[in-house]
């Protein structure tokens, strides 16, 4: 059994195709693990396994079940975005991403925990329960896709999808020793994905290795642009399964504004520098570049994302679905429902965003932040004239302790320091595990121009092979034993 759970998804799919393993066996093995979840990774599991029996072994994803962040609407299935305000909500429709992966042969295993409405970097903002990091149960898995990351790292799911607005796929992947990919904005449909910040949100895979990430991405984009999402586009190529073993001829840019910032922990920096050496060993050229406005990314992000969120979350008003409170008049219906239904961080961001858009402040905050966004995108464009890829640490630190940063919002927001610039520029970025610090995984982030996912995946694959990171916390060198 445990051998089965150790298979990467691509390997499991191969076994299924070879007839050595049935999709039902695979599902029940994972289901058993998920039911015994002690990490708080899952918010919901189906009473009966969903759909897998109908999944043909020859479907491209061979029936390998998928953990789905609870931000994706699935028809008739509780979907809460880890918020009280959506307790009991069962959507009348299914998200395009979930539908496409199910159609390709990856049925949903269950819904995973997250920071409420994807707002957070530790998963402590779930209205239901915090999630524990499989590498060290008193530490956070990162967020907001913390449940998806913990489920995969903890062996409760073979792979998962999450969403990334300012780092919500990459940072938990980094903290849990996994691969996390945020695709180019527009590559994957947002239809049915509960909105946090519409101009930034993207769906992407969190997996044990780069090949699995490529496999999921391939089927997320394969159907072409989604007519239900005006901002989605056709991906210009097919996503290839990476096989590259070296980085010959590749020019890689290092950004001192991000990798040398005071906020980056020494242990993280050590792993980062070692990875740069590996790049050179693999034939890549490392050079220093500058993204002069990237240090302002966080400021711009914490204006733009809350501003969009403040409008996106106005629909939670106690009228058509979800929670309703209040004592009889309309104003109290609105104010009580939203006061009771939203958690602290969500309220904080609604307040911040409402303030930034309000009369008299718009230009100083929202207007300026939009211009910073332009400058950041220009910085990247200029950088990609010189280099093929840009690399940074994913997270300034390894997984921190539960409760460590909850009292200081700004300290928590700093977790996104290295990931928000790419989000603002709409660029694809992947985090791969590059080593350990204090016995905890350290992620390495690779970014390329828009729609350069194949290039990213190839480089990430070559590095992954060279690094040889073991994604199992149980076996991880010096890692805390899994429970």
């Amino acid at each position: 059994m445990s051998e089965l759970l150790d298979l990467s998804t691509a390997q499991a799919a191969q076994s299924v195709r070879a007839g050595d393993l049935s999709p039902a066996e695979l599902l029940s093995a994972y289901r058993e693990q998920a039911e015994a979840d002690e990490l708080g990774a899952f918010l919901w599991l189906p009473e009966e396994p969903l759909g897998v029996m109908g999944t043909a072994a020859d479907a491209p994803l061979a029936g390998v079940p998928l953990a789905v962040k609870d931000i994706f609407c699935v028809e008739g299935v509780p979907t809460t975005a880890a918020s009280r305000i959506l307790e009991g909500y069962r959507p009348p429709y299914t998200a395009t991403a979930v539908e496409r992966l199910a159609a390709a042969g990856a049925p949903m295993l269950g819904k995973t925990n997250m920071d409420e409405f994807a707002m957070g970097s530790s998963n402590e903002n779930s209205a239901y329960e915090p999630v524990r990091n499989p590498w060290s149960p008193d530490r956070v898995p990162g967020g907001s896709s913390g449940g998806s990351a913990a489920a995969v790292a903890g062996g409760l799911a073979p792979w998962s999808i999450g969403t990334d607005t300012g780092g919500s796929i990459r940072q938990p992947a980094s903290l849990c020793g996994l691969v996390g990919l945020k695709p180019t904005y527009g590559a994957v449909s947002r239809y049915g994905m509960i909105a946090f910040a519409s101009s930034l949100d993207q769906c992407g895979p969190i997996t044990r290795d780069v090949t699995d990430a490529a496999l999921l991405l391939r089927h997320l984009v394969a159907g072409g642009r989604d007519p239900c999402d005006s901002t989605s586009v056709d991906f210009p190529q097919e996503i290839e399964l990476p096989s590259s073993e070296d980085l010959g001829g590749l020019r890689v840019g290092v950004v001192p504004e991000l990798s040398d910032a005071a906020t980056i922990d020494a242990g993280v920096k050590t792993v980062f520098d070692a990875t740069l050496e590996r790049i050179e060993e693999l034939g890549g050229g490392v050079e220093q570049i500058s993204l002069p406005h990237s240090e302002h990314g966080l400021s711009a992000y914490y204006v733009l994302a809350p501003a969009e969120a403040s409008a996106n979350l106005s629909r939670y008003d106690g009228v058509r679905f979800g929670l309703r409170s209040g004592d009889g008049d309309l104003l109290s219906l609105y104010e009580r429902t939203r006061a009771d239904g939203f958690g602290d961080e969500v309220k904080r961001r609604i307040m911040l965003g409402t303030y930034a858009l309000s009369s008299g402040y718009y230009e100083a905050y929202y207007g300026r932040a939009q211009r910073v966004r332009t400058k950041i995108a220009e910085d990247f464009r200029a950088a990609f004239e010189r280099v093929d890829l840009v690399v940074t640490p994913t997270s300034p630190s390894v997984a921190f302790r539960l409760g460590e940063r909850t009292a200081d919002p700004m300290a928590m927001y700093m977790s996104d320091y290295c990931t928000v610039p790419m989000s603002l520029a709409g660029l694809p970025a992947i985090s791969i595990p590059a080593g350990l610090s204090e016995g905890l995984p350290v992620g390495f982030q690779i970014t390329g121009p828009a729609f350069s996912e194949n290039r990213l995946l190839a480089a990430a694959h070559a590095l992954e092979q060279a690094i040889g990171f073991d994604s199992s916390p149980a076996r991880g060198k010096a890692g805390a034993p899994a429970r």
């Binding site: 609407c73 509960i194 519409s198 901002t231 629909r315 058509r320 858009l357």
Partner: protein
């Protein structure tokens, strides 16, 4: 030089009026989802996750709504923006499922246009709100009044047209709105039915000392749902503002509701409620940049518009202004008229126009003549019979009655009912009999009392049952009496 000082009490004021019109477009589906548009269907039977504002849903704009909006922009001679974007207008209200309305803000689809002598400030696209229906006291909500939301209307494509404050009387505002309505109707982009709310009008009203160019504080009159209410509402508001200024007071900027029952104006918004819509670009939509193909298609779809048609009918056919406007503003009448005119080139345009706008309208009311049993060819034939003096005017009206009731060709009806003008021989005999039977009147006519002629002619007309031409009869009587 002497300076004349006028006190506010004596001063004459003139109104300055601008209109804001909301037009529901007549597309098959809503602005941002595939739900069919409906009017009067069972509540909440035309909804989907998108127009109910469910989590995770996204808007996708309706191409036909954009097409209609471009047609309107072109018809109103606007400058079309090469690139416009949608914004979110944020406020909470139960008829607004997302907590924001998708609308256009600083970069509308088109601006700086004109219709007639009124400048159009801007034309933009947005989505309509749902409908709140009062439901009386609710059992569930303790002691409070409840409403029920029906989302059928929510998301209907809406075009907002804002004029410059170029109107200076309630009547002019009403007249201009009629022109706009006729124009939109002619474009075929909306039902423009004020009762059903597919055309809604707000007015911005201020007054200023006559002859000056200053702008006074304006108030906004909301949702006047008929031409009459619009005119009465504006008139009431102008009077109210005049009374305030004459009393030495100041007009406050506010939004008012006009109650057509009582004629009263009441303030709609409380002061402590601040309105801060926090507009920002809608991130779920991409910019709208009309392509040449889109513009060509919109241009090709433009029919001749009422203002141009009225001008042409007046200029080319010599119709009186009012008749030309009536034919142009009710384009179905204009179409009927022009097709009748084409059916018989010999018909006098002005006579035919009067038969359409007076006689036919009197019989059909608001019914589209195309839907009536009267065909344009038949009406043209009738007018020709009258002109050729084959049938009298009054008999022709009887023929038209018959046509409006059951169709048919005029000549057949005339023959069947014996309504043709009496022949010369028959008429001579009748004239002789009338002269014999009315000696007193004859005496007076001979003595030069013109009025007495009426009695003789009347008798003849009675006997012919109107099958005689009054002028001809009079000529024959005079001849018989040797008055030549």
């Amino acid at each position: 030089m002497t300076t004349v000082t006028t006190t506010p009490t004596e001063r004459a004021y003139e109104p300055v009026i601008g209109l804001e019109i909301h037009v529901q477009l007549r597309t098959q589906t809503k602005m941002f989802c595939g739900c069919a548009l409906s009017f009067g269907d069972e509540p909440n039977t035309h909804t989907c996750p998108v127009c109910l504002g469910h989590p995770g849903t996204l808007p996708v704009p309706n191409a036909e709504a954009i097409h209609f909006a471009l047609m309107i922009g072109l018809a109103l001679e606007c400058e079309l923006a090469p690139r416009s974007i949608f914004h979110r207008k944020n406020y909470f209200y139960p008829d607004l499922p997302k907590g924001y309305q998708i609308s256009q803000f600083d970069v509308p689809l088109s601006r700086s246009g004109r219709l007639g002598d009124v400048r159009v400030h801007r034309v933009h696209l947005e989505e309509d709100a749902a409908k709140l229906v009062h439901a009386g006291a609710s059992g569930r909500i303790h002691g409070a009044e409840a409403s029920v939301v029906d989302f059928n209307r929510g998301g209907t494509p809406l075009v907002e047209i804002v004029t410059e404050p170029d109107l200076s009387s309630p009547e002019q505002a009403g007249e201009w709105l009629r022109l706009l309505r006729a124009t939109l109707k002619r474009l075929g982009v909306s039902d423009v039915n004020m009762d059903e709310g597919s055309l809604r009008c707000d007015a911005n009203v201020s007054i200023r000392p006559a002859g000056t160019a200053t702008l006074g504080t304006k108030t906004e009159l909301k949702n006047m749902n008929s031409f009459r209410f619009l005119e009465r509402g504006i008139a009431a508001e102008v009077t109210r503002q005049e009374q305030i200024l004459r009393g030495g007071g100041e007009v406050e900027q506010e939004t008012l509701h006009f109650d057509p029952q009582t004629g009263a104006l009441s303030s709609l918004r409380s002061k402590e409620e601040s309105h801060d819509y926090r507009y920002f670009p809608e991130p779920d939509l991409v910019p709208l940049a009309p392509t040449q193909a889109m513009l060509d298609r919109a241009r090709a779809a433009l029919p001749e518009l009422p203002a141009a048609r009225a001008e042409r009918l007046e200029r080319e056919l010599g119709l009186p202004t009012d008749t030309a406007r009536l034919l142009a503003f009710r384009s179905e009448l204009g179409d009927f008229y022009e097709s009748a005119l084409g059916a018989d080139g010999a018909t006098d345009p002005a006579t035919l126009a009067s038969w359409v706008t007076v006689e036919l309208v009197a019989r059909l009311g608001d019914v589209d003549p195309v839907e009536s049993p009267v065909s344009p060819e038949a009406l043209a034939e009738l007018v020709r019979l009258v002109s050729a003096r084959s049938v009298s005017g009054s008999a022709a009206k009887e023929v038209l009655d018959a046509m409006a009731a059951g169709g048919g060709r005029p000549e057949a009806i005339v023959a069947e009912r014996g309504l043709g003008l009496a022949g010369a021989g028959e008429l001579e005999a009748i004239v002789d009999r009338a002269i014999e039977a009315n000696p007193d009147a004859v005496e007076k006519v001979r003595a030069g009392t013109g009025k007495a002629m009426g009695a003789i002619v009347g008798a003849i007309m009675r006997e012919t049952k109107g099958r005689a031409d009054g002028g001809e009869v009079q000529r024959m009587v005079r001849e018989r009496l040797g008055l030549g």
